[in-house]
């Protein structure tokens, strides 16, 4: 065990830090850019210098870095306020799925522009009638020669409105039990018949969308896995999803709570001297470092060639509620002014309020707390599944409502 860098790792860290110091866009260069434009500028710059998706093989646009080097890079990059969330789904979920299931030609075509940020991908899984019960999805695909014709609706599709491509699970055979009738594709989001409607979230933003499919044609060559194997392929995406989401890129952590508690007065003393405040901060710290080190441990496992396993589900199972509770606690520290959400007036420029408003989404996206707890119970602890009313019967006969 060694939490310090080896000589090679220290050299790599120094190289990464030096490149970042010279290259992170700032000042006039980013003035007037939207967050997305800033993200694209930064991603392309990293790509051109060999610092994008560094764990990927060079032929896909990476540099074949080790998982440990990836962590070192992430640690160094996180010292700067640079956007990355726009690429999370594409690089974190679509790409690993493509690496596992796509043809060599398609990998060569699609992965490099994913790494460079020139093409953005979204994930078309959830539907109005299939959230936690994802395999109950109803969007239909019917074979027509060398293509498939898609009809139906997806929902909660982050970034569909700025995405170039999407990964998609659809039902190709409703006459068999639900998991067996699914097939997995990728598609061009500009295909005729794709209609995207934004959903306004409780934060006021519209990151999510509904996506409607009306006679959308997808070439059979864009199928990933066999016909009917879609669930299996989807699981490989979901496992990467849970590893990728974690705390969802919010910057509210224990260090911020400590800063606020040092600054805010309670009964005439800095709040951090209060024992109730200390107990709560300590508990958040246990969660935060516990998750960080659990992530490190899974890296060491990955360095030995193991896949990210269901153990990683705790990253989001713990991380998302922690974000919600920690941001609420920080607002309590501010007493009555905790409700003020104004970049000029709020402490930490309103990041705490933003995190609290975003946290409910994080507890749902990519598997709710409840689904993740089931995954831990069934796949880590080996407990039996609940009896299922839809087990073994054709999808068309499953009760709905």
């Amino acid at each position: 065990m060694d939490f310090n860098d080896t000589q090679d790792e220290a050299r790599f860290r120094a190289e990464a830090a030096a490149w970042l110091a010279d290259n992170v866009p700032q000042g006039e260069e980013i003035a007037g850019l939207t967050r997305l434009e800033f993200a694209r500028l930064w991603q392309k710059r990293k790509y051109d210098a060999g610092w994008a998706c560094i764990g990927w093989e060079p032929k896909f646009g990476g540099r074949g870095a080790t998982p440990i080097e990836q962590v070192i890079w992430d640690q160094e990059e996180s010292k700067y306020d640079v956007p990355s969330r726009f690429f999370m789904i594409g690089q974190g979920m679509a790409a690993p799925t493509m690496m596992m299931w796509a043809s060599a030609e398609d990998q060569a075509r699609y992965l490099p522009p994913l790494a460079s940020g020139e093409e953005i991908w979204c994930q078309l899984f959830s539907e109005p009638a299939s959230g936690s019960d994802l395999a109950a999805l109803r969007t239909r695909a019917e074979r027509d020669g060398d293509a498939w014709v898609i009809n139906g609706q997806k929902i909660w599709t982050s970034g569909a409105h700025y995405s170039d491509f999407g990964i998609l699970v659809v039902r190709t055979d409703p006459s068999v039990p639900k998991h067996k009738g699914l097939t997995y594709f990728f598609l061009d989001m500009r295909s005729p018949g794709v209609e995207i409607r934004p959903i306004k979230q409780l934060t006021g933003e519209s990151e999510f969308n509904e996506v409607y499919f009306t006679d959308v044609r997808i070439p059979d060559s864009q199928r990933l896995g066999e016909v009917g194997q879609g669930w299996h392929v989807a699981l490989s995406t979901l496992m990467n999803e849970r590893a990728a989401i974690g705390e969802g890129g919010f910057s509210v952590g224990v260090d911020m709570a400590v800063r606020i508690a040092q600054r805010v007065m309670l009964n005439g003393r800095p709040a951090i001297e209060d024992s109730a405040v200390r107990a709560k901060i300590a508990n958040f710290h246990v969660q935060e470092t516990g998750l960080k080190f659990a992530g490190y441990r899974s890296l060491t496992a990955m360095s030995r060639g193991e896949m990210p396993g269901p153990e990683n589900s705790i990253a989001k199972l713990i991380g998302a509620p922690k974000l919600q509770q920690l941001s609420s606690f920080c607002m309590d520290l501010m007493e009555m002014a905790g409700v003020i959400w104004d970049p000029e007036l709020s402490l930490e420029a309103g990041a705490v309020q933003m995190a609290y408003m975003g946290a409910p989404g994080l507890r749902i996206a990519g598997g709710t707390d409840e689904i993740l707890a089931n995954i831990v119970a069934e796949r880590v602890l080996g407990l039996p599944q609940e009896p299922r009313m839809d087990k073994g019967i054709p999808f068309t006969e499953v009760p709905t409502g």
Binding site: F3, T6, I68, R259, R278, I281, T289, A294, L317, L383
Partner: protein, 372 residues
């Protein structure tokens, strides 16, 4: 960077687990619980033969000179087995105190015997109810002799050597003193605690001979507690995992309403929450073990973190283990009680959750102020 125990260390864990499964099965814990014997002397001898008390003691003092990673692995298995022996008192506290802060004469005198298990050591800090500190400690050292009363002292009834926290009469500072219990001025009263498998005592010292460890009192005591906290944390990690495993097995076997209770989400989500807490404790334990072995400047923070996480995980796991068992878990006959008792005992030794939360945030406060 490498965030895993080495293959040799993992082999040692397997070996320790196998050894304790054979020599310290639940029936041995039950015997200790039911009997008047203060500890399982036979198990103690066998563990001594394995050399585990000698793990981190240098070879010059008759030890094996291994690292704290090996000791952490053994501690985990001690916790898993709920071992009814004075391992923690003798190894994490008494031996550590001498190793880190003892004079050369004290080390030469005691460490070889502690290493071979022929001597049992312990640590006497508390003086009854409340958090001990310089204002409350009344045990006093003056002119080479020590007087005062300490309780509860883990293994105080069987210890040959006690490291005592007392005030130096001249400086009024809390310091550590080594006391040989084979003196007429040492009186022991057996003390009933909630964990019948581990013995405790009240120790009375009436002008007994005592030898000071290093002079710099309060920081030395804090440093000793930090070191012990990491190792107790690993015992708690092993204990919490054992309780989870027991709950899991019961949930697989027990049927209600026509199916295994482990198939209900009420049970699944409970055990997933136990798993998550255990996992946090274990991951923090890795960092704690590293900080201890590498003498990291982060040791206090790392130790407090694994200690708080270990307390939380082991209490929660042992409470929910009984809950999962229902009424049977509340009986004397079932083994759930072993874990429940030991977890509560370990949550109090070397300081409560609140004490370590306070210490943890003290470190965060200090380092954050240093940055600003």
């Amino acid at each position: 960077m490498n965030f895993e125990f080495s293959e040799e260390q993992q082999m040692l864990r397997d070996q320790a687990r196998g050894f304790l499964a054979q020599h310290c099965p639940p029936s041995a814990v039950r015997t200790a619980l039911d009997s008047d014997a203060p500890f399982d002397a036979e198990l103690w001898r066998k563990v001594a033969d394995m050399g585990w008390m000698a793990t981190v003691i240098p070879e010059e003092y008759g030890g094996l000179g291994l690292s704290y990673y090996e000791l952490a692995v053994i501690a985990e298995e001690m916790g898993r087995a709920v071992a009814p022996i004075p391992f923690s008192s003798s190894v994490y506290l008494a031996s550590e105190a001498l190793l880190q802060f003892g004079t050369e004469a004290l080390r030469e005198r005691w460490l070889p015997k502690l290493a071979e298990g022929s001597v049992i050591g312990t640590f006497a800090f508390a003086e009854g109810i409340g958090r001990p500190c310089a204002d409350t400690i009344t045990a006093t050292f003056s002119g080479g002799s020590l007087s005062g009363t300490k309780l509860p002292v883990p293994d105080g009834d069987i210890a040959d050597l006690v490291i005592v926290v007392a005030k130096d009469a001249a400086s009024q500072a809390m310091c550590l003193y080594a006391v040989d219990c084979a003196q007429s001025g040492v009186r022991r009263d057996e003390l009933q605690t909630l964990d019948f498998s581990r013995s405790h005592a009240t120790l009375h010292f009436d002008n007994v001979q005592a030898e000071p460890l290093q002079a710099d009192g309060e920081t030395t005591i804090a440093a000793l507690l930090d070191r012990a906290a990491v190792l107790f944390g690993w015992e708690q990690i092993g204990l919490a995992d054992a309780a989870l495993e027991q709950a899991r097995e019961y949930a697989m076997q027990r049927y209600a309403f026509g199916r295994q209770i482990g198939s209900y989400q009420a049970i699944k989500h409970k055990l997933a929450a136990v798993y998550a807490k255990n996992s946090l404790a274990r991951s923090n334990g890795y960092y704690g073990a590293w900080a201890l072995q590498e003498k990291s400047s982060d040791l206090t923070l790392a130790a407090a973190t694994v200690r708080v996480a270990g307390i939380q995980a082991s209490l929660f796991a042992t409470q929910e283990n009984i809950q999962t068992h229902g009424g049977m878990g509340f009986t004397w006959e079932f083994d759930c009680q072993f874990y429940y008792r030991r977890a509560r005992l370990l949550a109090s030794v070397v300081g409560s959750e609140a004490m370590w939360q306070d210490r943890l945030v003290g470190e965060l406060d200090r380092s954050s102020a240093a940055v600003a």
